[in-house]
Symmetry: C2
Subunit: 156 residues, 2 copies
């Protein structure tokens, strides 16, 4: 089972959120990536965030744990998990080019207007407005149309 | 990849912790069990805890996320994850017999004296003394001798 860790970084001095624009669909995501065998989730997010952005996270906190189910018709073709951290402190300098897409500091007020996967919008909204951990399952088609979502708490 | 959710319940009125004594080795664990496809982790722990104990958890909080690596010599033969919740509120009546072992309310002062997997002792100690989420990787042999442990934070 694939496991992904990522982090929503908000810089409290500029009130901006660091996002990554993926080349394929132009969708914005929180930088992160796949866990490696034997890692724990905080090790993983520290490593992945550094690789993708150049920044070293300081004490990221786990604010979302999600199951993703990918369906082709009635058939589940994939299931994976994502662990989403939140962080307001970091060190280091932003990479000018990221291996995974275009890095962009986005004003907090504009985050929700960016194109992104429908489920991502739901957890971005929660994590940017609440400290309470969000649990959920997102069910998508193979071309990433959101079929179903269960969130706990249901709203931030 | 197998994923397990469990919960450490402490009753604040009696200062006792509900533990499950497994028949095979006589080791004590926090009740819980395997996640089902498509579940999110809080759904899973609510369902498993109810099945194993008869109790319904009220707002359990996620206090530990662990990777487990099982090694046979130099070979990794299994990797799984465990999500450990903590809860002080519940409803319902304790089952007189559990499908998985013997249920026992253990005085808080005696929890650390119970026989248990060496790694479990580490996270029990942390979760019973701190609200901070614990991240870690436990590496075991196939007969559950602890080979290595990485914890973050390193001590509660």
């Amino acid at each position: 089972m694939q496991r992904v860790t990522n982090c929503i970084v908000k810089d409290p001095t500029t009130n901006q959120v660091l996002m990554l624009k993926k080349p394929r669909r132009g969708w914005y995501v929180a930088p992160g990536g796949k866990m490696e065998p034997g890692e724990h989730i905080r090790e993983s997010v520290m490593r992945e965030y550094k690789e993708e952005t150049g920044l070293t996270l300081q004490q990221p906190t786990l604010n979302g744990v999600f199951s993703f189910v990918i369906k082709d018709g009635n058939q589940t073709v994939q299931e994976w998990m994502m662990f989403t951290f939140y962080c307001e402190n970091y060190t280091g300098n932003l990479l000018s080019t990221s291996p995974e897409g275009e890095l962009e500091w986005v004003d907090l007020s504009e985050v929700m207007q960016k194109p992104m996967a429908e489920g991502d919008r739901r957890y971005f909204k929660h994590i940017l407005s609440s400290n309470e951990v969000l649990y959920g399952t997102f069910t998508y088609t193979t071309d990433f149309t959101l079929l179903d979502v269960t969130l706990d708490p249901a709203s931030p």
